[in-house]
């Protein structure tokens, strides 16, 4: 992401120019009027069971600024936000809104003082309509005293959506029918509702006073176009003098929209800087406390030519054909827009979706265990019994897209999660548990992926997102896999953990493991992969060499030759 920072800016030049102008204006204003902060937090501290999560933190939000809040997982960002939201009681904190000291006892207090929150997790009620979800936290407009005025509610919801230029979502439809990205847009519209239209006659006047917005990784589930819509709304809020606290792990977003940045590490605020006075390397150093030169470690050894995996016309109910070879040690990227079949290709390879056609050949040297005991290649077709159990046994390891719902068993220990696919080999005769052996393996692999945990018996739920992802990597490494399938391996993972994960991928590749890496992060694909496979409409559309490939070219290829955006 660092190496391509310039390209990103170039791509967004018109907006950057607009932002520059706005910034200059505000700078002059600032000197003339010295704007008082809309919100200031100081001396904020909070400990959980004796271990400090936040130590004497401070934060100022000025009118008309986008303020980025950065830090690794566990740096204290969430605690700080929860204090602002009134859902966590600080051990000590001084909060002032518009210069007047306040105390937030509950979420309602924060709401009453004009704060609005967009949380990373979707808090939706699936059974209710889009309009009902948008106005969930407010009283619905009434008619005849007791009846809900649905017409006004739906009109207000349509207006709230229109403010974000969202026309394709029907406010009367059930929110459960929308895809994740659209659901996120609805939640965002809900947070903004009433703050964008100028005196629009919605009848929902209760929400006029919002001028402080806190967004916790709002773009995590959004596509590029959806994220751009959000950024446009943020720009309008800024122009109206609102302040936005924006939490993200994505450096390119910070440089695109933020005016100032506060960096946290180990519960403390380590820096507050105008965005002009910093750069990617500086922010990473502040967040991690260590020098990381180049996020993407370079390939150390030349690629072998031995094919490991040959895939021919692979089909499932969700995949309409893909063919490629994977060489030993190769990192093959899988790119495509949302819904293009990225995850589905990996699911087909690991046997999570039933094959309906085509074949997979795993070369003899790659096939281990029971499947490889007979000589010759492992040959899988629609007629074969091919499921995740067979895949793991054949030396194919898999890190799924959603670590919480598809990857981890959060209620169980790290040890149980790491050894789950390998229990047969780590147990006595495949039957009796050998906990000592399992824990030794989990500890050894945990160290390899730089997992931060007390011990292998810690419950996985207690780990931060980045460390949870590392547990899945430790699992994938445990069985001496020859093929590694990675679906969005660094989504929602902080910079330090990201770097650790890239280093592990490189290391595996150097030892001859073939890696298939599906990602929506174009920089990651260009930085890590040898070749990138482009999927469009659930089928293979192109196979590009990454030598000399730019993110723009990759994005264009994803949209297809006919409709370059």
């Amino acid at each position: 992401m660092i190496a391509i920072g310039h390209e990103c800016n170039a791509q967004r030049a018109p907006r950057a120019l607009r932002l520059c102008r706005a910034r200059a204006l505000r700078y002059i204003f600032g000197i003339m009027f010295d704007p008082r902060p809309l919100l200031s937090l100081s001396h904020a501290s909070k400990s959980y069971g004796g271990s400090p999560a936040l130590i004497d933190a401070a934060l100022d939000l000025l009118p008309g600024e986008v303020h980025a809040l950065m830090g690794e997982n566990g740096a204290g960002k969430s605690t700080l936000i929860r204090i602002l939201a009134g859902v966590v009681a600080p051990d000590h904190a001084e909060i002032a809104v518009g210069g007047a000291p306040v105390v937030f006892h509950s979420a309602a207090d924060a709401f009453a003082h004009g704060l609005r929150f967009i949380h990373q997790e979707l808090n939706i009620v699936p059974g209710l309509s889009v309009a009902e979800n948008i106005f969930l936290s407010q009283p619905y407009p009434r008619r005849a005293g007791a009846l809900v005025d649905w017409a006004r509610l739906n009109a207000a919801a349509r207006e709230a959506l229109a403010a974000l230029h969202i026309e394709h979502i029907d406010p009367r439809g059930k929110i459960a029918r929308l895809n994740t990205g659209d659901q996120m847009l609805v939640k965002i519209a809900g947070a903004f509702a009433g703050s964008l239209q100028n005196g629009g006659e919605t009848g929902l006047s209760a929400k006029g006073g919002a001028n402080l917005f806190v967004m916790d990784e709002p773009t995590a589930a959004l596509t590029g176009a959806e994220a751009d819509r959000l950024f446009a709304v943020i720009a309008r809020l800024k122009a109206r003098g609102c302040a936005i606290l924006y939490v993200t792990h994505r450096l390119d977003e910070v440089f695109a929209i933020a005016d100032r940045v506060t960096v946290m590490r180990d519960g403390r605020v380590v820096a507050v800087k105008p965005i002009r006075q910093t750069d990617s390397a500086d922010l990473i150093r502040l967040m991690t406390g260590r020098e990381i030169s180049g996020v993407y470690p370079p390939r150390a050894s030349p690629l072998s030519s031995a094919p490991l995996l040959r895939v021919h016309d692979l089909r499932t109910a969700h995949l309409a054909g893909a063919a490629f070879d994977l060489r030993a040690g190769e990192i093959l990227g899988v790119a495509g827009l949302t819904g293009s079949g990225r995850s589905e290709l990996l699911r087909a390879l690991v046997g999570a979706d039933r094959l309906t056609g085509g074949e997979i050949r795993l070369s003899e040297s790659a096939a281990l265990g029971s499947a490889g005991s007979k000589s010759g290649d492992l040959h899988i077709t629609a007629a074969s019994r091919w499921d995740p159990t067979a895949a793991w046994r054949s030396g194919i390891a898999y890190v799924p897209e959603e670590r919480r719902t598809q990857g981890l068993i959060l209620s169980r220990m790290i040890r149980d999660n790491v050894t789950l696919p390998h229990l047969g080999a780590l147990s006595g005769g495949g039957v009796t548990l050998r906990r000592g052996r399992e824990e030794a393996a989990a500890a050894r692999l945990g160290e390899k992926v730089r997992l931060k945990a007390r011990d292998p018996r810690q419950t996985t739920r207690q780990l931060s997102g980045g460390n949870q992802q590392k547990v899945l990597f430790a699992r994938a490494l445990a069985g001496e896999a020859r093929v590694l399938l990675l679906d969005e391996p660094t989504r929602g993972v902080d910079v330090g953990a990201k770097y650790d994960i890239y280093a592990v991928i490189r290391d595996l590749s150097a030892r001859g493991v073939g890696v298939v890496l599906a990602s929506s992060d174009l920089a990651e694909l260009v930085g890590m992969c040898d070749r990138v496979l482009i999927l469009r409409d659930r089928r293979l559309s192109a196979l590009l060499d990454t030598a000399g490939l730019t993110q723009d070219a990759l994005l264009t290829a994803c949209y297809g030759p006919g409709e370059s955006s």
């Binding site: 995740p388 898999y398 799924p400 981890l408 959060l410 149980d416 789950l420 229990l423 495949g430 419950t459």
Partner: protein, 335 residues
């Protein structure tokens, strides 16, 4: 208990309170025991009474222990009670027709295995919710027990002494005054089932995988666990456990009746739920189930001795289950 009032005063108090809630059910059990000890000073806290309790709960214990196997996966088996009745009827019918005790017992256990296999097939292969699938088989098994027995109780000379004397027998431990102290055979069977289920769930790969399914079935499948197969096996084991419980019951009362197992299902689920309140993540554990079974058994025994009306007894037992589960839900919501 008002947690809010107590908690903000220092982290040490809070930690102690947290531990109290994890072990709350255990402490509750000890309070119940102490209560009966005080109110029944001469009869309750005696070895003969505890041996008696162990026999009284043994059928429930066997069914609850094996029920724990499916509940570890997050599933239920509502059909265990009617399976217990059906197994008892099946064995009694074989005895009546002159079959050997061994063959009657084996066929009854086999019926349990097949019944469990039907449950497993409906849940894992067809994909019906366990609640619905086993509600259906509950009715089927119950109906089958009525059809086979003609709705009548099989007792008296039809039940061989060899079968009914098993429940009366046991290992002699000595004598107290005139009476011989005996560790009942039924209690020994329950202990053996406890040991087997404990080893299965806690010491084998099968148990680990069942816990994984209960934690997150999709993640378990993508992690290489054969979810369907294991679900099938788990339901079969629960079915066998239900049949065994039914046989023990028939042996104890020396008769078989198409409704006699009916009450065991709810008590078994209640025992597992009580046990779940003991684990930090709220997972079922067979030793927790043992505590749950003992709570139900001790309450029943003590209240009967205090001549509390049996309907009042039911209200009390229900209230204790609700209280225990409420405590553990409140604890979970705090996290």
């Amino acid at each position: 208990m008002n947690i809010r009032v107590l908690s903000p005063s220092g982290s040490a108090a809070r930690a102690a309170l947290g531990r109290l809630r994890t072990f709350g059910t255990l402490i509750g059990f000890l309070v119940v025991v102490a209560f009966f000890w005080i109110n029944l000073p001469t009869t309750f806290m005696t070895l003969p009474n505890w041996l008696n309790i162990s026999q009284q709960v043994s059928m429930l214990a066997v069914i609850a222990f094996t029920m724990t196997i499916v509940m570890v996966m997050g599933d239920f088996d509502l059909s265990v009670g009617s399976m217990a009745s059906l197994a008892g009827i099946a064995a009694a019918l074989i005895f009546r027709d002159g079959g050997a005790v061994a063959s009657g017992v084996l066929i009854a256990l086999l019926i349990g295995l097949v019944g469990g296999a039907i449950n497993g097939f409906l849940v894992s292969a067809i994909g019906i919710l366990p609640f619905v699938a086993t509600l259906g088989t509950l009715t089927m098994f119950s109906g089958a027990a009525f059809v086979l027995s003609g709705g009548e109780t099989i007792f008296g000379r039809d039940i061989p002494a060899e079968f009914s004397s098993f429940a009366r027998g046991g290992i002699p431990l000595g004598t107290v005054g005139e009476r011989a102290l005996v560790l009942p055979n039924l209690s020994l069977v329950a202990l053996a089932v406890l040991l087997v289920v404990y080893l299965l769930l806690e010491q084998t790969t099968l148990g680990r995988r069942l816990y994984a399914i209960g934690g997150n079935a999709e993640a378990a499948r993508l992690g290489g666990v054969r979810v369907r197969l294991l679900r099938q096996i788990a339901f079969m084991l629960t079915g066998v456990g239900a049949a065994l419980g039914g046989l023990m019951y028939a042996s104890r009362v020396a008769s078989a009746n198409p409704t006699q197992g009916g009450g065991l299902m709810l008590d078994a689920i209640a025992a597992v739920f009580l046990g779940m309140t003991l684990s930090e993540e709220g997972e079922p554990h067979v030793l927790g189930t043992l505590v749950g079974v003992l709570i139900l058994g001790v309450l029943d025994n003590g209240l009967t001795q205090m001549r509390v009306d049996s309907y009042v007894r039911e209200i009390l037992i229900g209230a204790i289950i609700v209280a225990a589960v409420t405590m553990s839900s409140l604890e979970k919501r705090k996290r």
